[in-house]
Symmetry: C2
Subunit: 460 residues, 2 copies
């Protein structure tokens, strides 16, 4: 079949963007400042330096520099797996019999299996540049831990990963790949930190939680000379690094004379949607174009659709700064039956602000059986097995394409396919066997979470 647009649109290495785009420089209003968890006063750069690499702390605070140069060494690393392809979903379109044109940016074709490597590469580079001795982080589902272990192997810097204990037991292969790349993996809670020992004493036999793992990782970082803590989502710096996804996608669409009518990304902490939307949001903020943005979240953890826009802790352990964001409350416990990630109680402050101010047009919450229905249709037709997280975006892309079938409109739909599902086969098995759980929190469940929101004198 002769097609005007190729199945996969590539850029050459020379065409790869050399700058990240900082959307905050174009935002009419900034998100509210982070607050120090002790004083409840806006954090200063100095507050952040014991936790974060200096350069990353600066990026976290920078809301004026529109474009930030990607260091040459990071560009070299990116060239191992970037530019990534933009793919026209011809086969999916045919299966849906839709006039819509569906494109996806595929970030899963690197060994980490996800887009997390874009920020891992940058964060580890800056740590190396600063002459740090090592890094700590936490990982839940394991994508971030894998990406960071790969980047640390490449830049030759030690890494300790605190992995939620129950995850490290349920996902021994994730543990194995992280260790193959040379990282030290500690099931959390552990007896290697004060907070870990305290939790173990209070809750013997606990399987751990992301909140506990964060607390242990931060304690290890601040108590080990030359160590810092790194994080794979939510933060401004992460959205900055992930902007390369959207920048490439925009260039690739220009090559084939396309521009998206609809831009779709899944939203857990915000790194996925933040990445794909970046240059299109720039067009929107500049008033040049008006693409329609959709964030997709799991119905089991609906921070944008049912959460509150309020100051909250970023972790359940209450050791991180507070951010103003859409949140279910740091004490909200998402269903353990939900496959994959996207189970974060809060949302990137940038995404939250854009949604609150109406620049992000719509948030949709989807139930997981319908997500896996979409993943399976996609896999059979496009022959890529998508990660459960990314499949949330596939679900809504399919729904939008089916609306086009009804209306006869040939809209151009772009979504971000950030990961592969190789390590999520257990969820696919549950789906296949009809064991999927479509839990949706009741209003009472949500109230329990909201009750954990902090009360801040003079603010909320």
């Amino acid at each position: 079949m002769s097609r005007k647009v190729p199945k996969r649109v590539f850029l050459t290495e020379d065409q790869m963007p050399t700058k990240w785009y900082n959307v905050r420089a174009d935002m009419k209003e900034q998100h509210a400042p982070y607050l120090h968890p002790g004083t409840m006063q806006p954090v200063t750069l100095d507050d952040l330096l014991p936790i974060f690499c200096t350069e990353l702390a600066k990026q976290e605070a920078d809301n004026v520099t529109r474009y930030i140069d990607i260091p040459e060494e990071v560009q070299d690393f990116y060239k191992i797996f970037r530019p990534s392809p933009l793919i026209r979903a011809y086969e999916l379109e045919k299966a849906l019999d839709t006039p819509a044109k569906i494109y996806y940016k595929f970030e899963g074709n690197n060994t980490s299996g996800s887009h997390k490597l874009n920020s891992a590469a940058a964060q580890v580079y800056y740590a190396k540049e600063q002459g740090l001795s090592g890094l700590t982080t936490e990982t839940g589902a394991g994508q971030w831990g894998t990406a960071l272990a790969m980047a640390c192997a490449y830049f030759n810097i030690p890494l300790s990963v605190f992995m939620v204990k129950v995850s490290s037991e349920q996902k021994p292969y994730r543990k194995a790949i992280i260790e193959t790349f040379g990282a030290d993996l500690i099931p959390s809670p552990s007896d290697t930190t004060n907070i870990g020992r305290k939790i173990l004493q209070e809750h013997p036999g606990t399987g751990g939680s992301l909140g506990c793992a964060i607390s242990e990782a931060i304690e290890r970082a601040v108590s080990t000379p030359g160590y810092r803590y790194v994080l794979g989502s939510v933060l401004n710096q992460v959205l900055l690094h992930q902007s390369i996804i959207g920048e490439e996608a925009k260039m690739q669409m220009e090559v084939i004379d396309e521009y998206p009518d609809i831009v779709i990304g899944c939203a857990g902490g915000g790194s996925n949607l933040g990445g794909i939307m970046a240059p299109f949001m720039r067009d929107r903020l500049e008033g040049k174009r008006h693409p329609y943005f959709i964030a997709v979240e799991p119905a089991s953890c609906p921070s944008l659709t049912r959460g509150r826009y309020a100051y909250d802790f970023c972790d359940t352990g209450h050791v991180t700064p507070l951010a103003k964001m859409y949140t279910l409350g740091a004490g909200f416990m998402p269903s353990p039956n939900h496959a994959g990630g996207l189970r974060y109680h809060g949302m990137s402050p940038i995404i939250s602000k854009l949604y609150h101010d109406g620049y992000l047009d719509e948030a949709v919450a989807v139930e997981q059986t319908k997500v896996f229905d979409a993943a399976t249709i996609f896999a059979k037709n496009e022959t890529i097995l998508p990660a459960p997280e990314s499949s949330h975006a596939i679900r809504v892309a399919i729904d939008e394409a089916l609306k086009c079938k009804e209306s006869g409109e040939a809209k151009t739909i772009l979504f971000n396919l950030t990961g592969t599902g190789y390590f999520d086969m257990h969820a696919y098995m549950d789906y296949k066997e009809g064991k999927m759980n479509d839990y949706v929190p009741t209003d009472a469940d949500l109230e329990q979470g909201f009750a954990t929101l902090p009360s801040i004198p003079g603010i909320q």
Copy 2:
């Protein structure tokens, strides 16, 4: 860093080869004919038609047509994941401190995780074209079963996969991905075939074997109207389809003004080496160039380095035609401790003939701890986690690069990286924990295998 040669060399969709190369058309002598297992006479096309698709049976027999058109529908399928990148191993070269230039063709960036999809796409297309009702196959490690399930989902044709029972239990995720693509997976031996029931009666509780799974798959194919059997390695047709790997690699090297001094592929059944070497072997057979070819096999299953060049059955069940090839005897039992594939007792008749006649220069057998040493060095530097099979080629590529370091020669090395190790983490864990088994068969072990070679009056 500004580099003359990019990290990844891509071809555009338009540049993708439109013909497969049939190396037999250039071979000075052909491999000996297949023999019918009943009559021990050369097989005819008619003998093959109840088992194989008609077009594939013709390709199996064709030793005169130099180039065979890739059907347009297969080209469309290929474009979902092809052309695949040729990658310069800059990071590995640096780690080895070698003057050698190392390139690898990366076939692992599709969801099946391996090059097997190249032949699966072709075989399923021809089955569809012939109007067949369905296909059967067997799978051991699971790469072929996964690739075939994907191709059958794409062309919408039913598939039954007989998976070695112990593998289906050890690798539930392989089973899950095959089922996600809609294939029917039957642990073998099963009570769904006569041969399966017979084996279950004689060996209750057996974990099965590849030989048994082949026999069940063939029985199911010949006893079900409109069904045929397909196979992912060894056969001439498979090497034909895999030639696209080498054809692309040669074009990519031309783009950057390179030509390999050494071409390396792992060798189990032969589809990997056969694919990468194809156009370079053409140059060799035409007397134009003289690249050095190395086949790499596991020391635990050394068909080329320690086997006999003789007629043998292609399966342990003795239902397939006999082929003249390097073999350890169809009754040879490779160590169950060997990770991954490459555990086949025989070798592609084409590869065998080329090796016997001196066109394939060298065969090397490597022990698996050294293979995983190489895999780990490669993963940490190139950030791709290689499949155990492909890591055999990495081992020898590294060894050749280290020889260059000794001699100061800047040789150009090309190897075939046909798969990723996502589903082989258990082997990586064993390696990490020092539990790897470096079993090498004794001469007495080999004699037991050779004792199972058939005696054919007037021939051997």
